[in-house]
């Protein structure tokens, strides 16, 4: 049977409670063996994840590719925003619909392998996708 305080104990562990609540939970954990064990387990999981899981940084090639893509967006990023309605799920990201269509085209384009090795905005001479993009 799980202690009814377990979610609050987790919130305490994650630093998500105010000082008064923190003191309450500490008093509770002093007398609740299950919550003491839970706190130990939470720390073990955190330690293992932060010690053993890969912290991949964006590869330099991707960073350079992103900067090149931004260069081609134009001075105010109107490339997509001028012609497309905003997305429903990311209202802030104007031009999403057009981006989705293009994204699908570019992915299919890449998979046909007639421009293998190119990424978005490949810009290769004679590549029709680069003209549209």
């Amino acid at each position: 049977m799980q202690c009814a305080e377990s979610l609050r104990v987790q919130a305490y562990f994650d630093g998500e409670v105010d000082p008064v609540t923190a003191a309450e939970i500490e008093r509770h954990a002093d007398h609740c063996n299950e919550c003491r064990v839970l706190l130990e387990d939470l720390q073990k999981v955190r330690t293992a994840l932060r010690r053993d899981v890969s912290y991949a940084a964006a590869p330099p090639a991707l960073r350079a590719q992103v900067l090149r893509a931004l260069d081609q967006e134009g001075p105010a990023g109107q490339a997509g925003a001028a012609t497309a309605p905003p997305a429903a799920n990311v209202a802030a990201a104007g031009g999403l619909s057009r981006a989705l269509v293009l994204d699908g085209r570019v992915q299919r384009h890449r998979r046909r392998r007639d421009c293998s090795g190119h990424r978005h905005l490949c810009g290769a001479a004679g590549c029709v996708e680069s003209v549209d993009r």
Partner: protein, 181 residues
């Protein structure tokens, strides 16, 4: 460099590594993660004016997540009618494998590989909140913004994912099955 671009590079691009890590945990192939991140950054740039006062990291990661779902749906549609030329190229080793490969199981002996494989076996929505909390050290409110769920759901998913990971770990390493809380 114009003002918008300069502000974008100052406020959003510092989170490119976090966006890439998040995409790597969402996507199965590194090449897919590259595509998702690039598309997300472009969308973020186009919608950057809407960011005022918001949390740039949570905002960018939310866009990464949406781009991933869009790409995943497209891949699912393609998978329904597989064509020879639609086969994806192998871009390199995945950060995580969604299913254990019996042939490579024998080399997955070290702790790090086991942990990453166990993480990969968690449901995606649970893995997301766990990685955002433990690796990106985001608050519940930030995770809720990225994953578009209430804070209470973030808390319950975190609890389940942590308990499941611990149970799987004990089962894997110590051969000691435990009930998932």
């Amino acid at each position: 460099m114009d003002d918008k671009r300069a502000r974008f590079e100052e406020q959003v691009l510092p989170h490119l590594d976090a966006a890439y890590r998040f995409a790597r945990w969402l996507c199965h192939a590194p090449g897919d993660a590259d595509d998702v991140v690039q598309e997300a950054v472009l969308r973020a740039f186009r919608g950057f004016d809407a960011l005022r006062g918001s949390d740039a990291k949570a905002w960018l990661l939310a866009i990464v997540r949406n781009c991933h779902f869009t790409a995943a749906k497209q891949q699912q549609r393609r998978a329904l009618v597989p064509l020879p030329e639609e086969n994806d190229e192998v871009d390199g080793p995945a950060m995580v494998a969604t299913t254990p490969d019996p042939e490579s199981d024998s080399i997955l002996s070290d702790q790090k590989q086991v942990l990453e494989r166990l993480l990969a076996s968690l449901p995606e929505e649970h893995r997301c909140v766990l990685m955002l909390r433990e690796i990106e050290e985001m608050s519940y409110a930030q995770i809720a913004a990225v994953t578009n769920v209430p804070i209470g759901t973030v808390m319950s998913r975190l609890a389940r994912s942590r308990a499941a990971l611990k149970a799987k770990w004990l089962q894997e390493v110590e051969g000691e099955p435990r009930a998932v809380r």
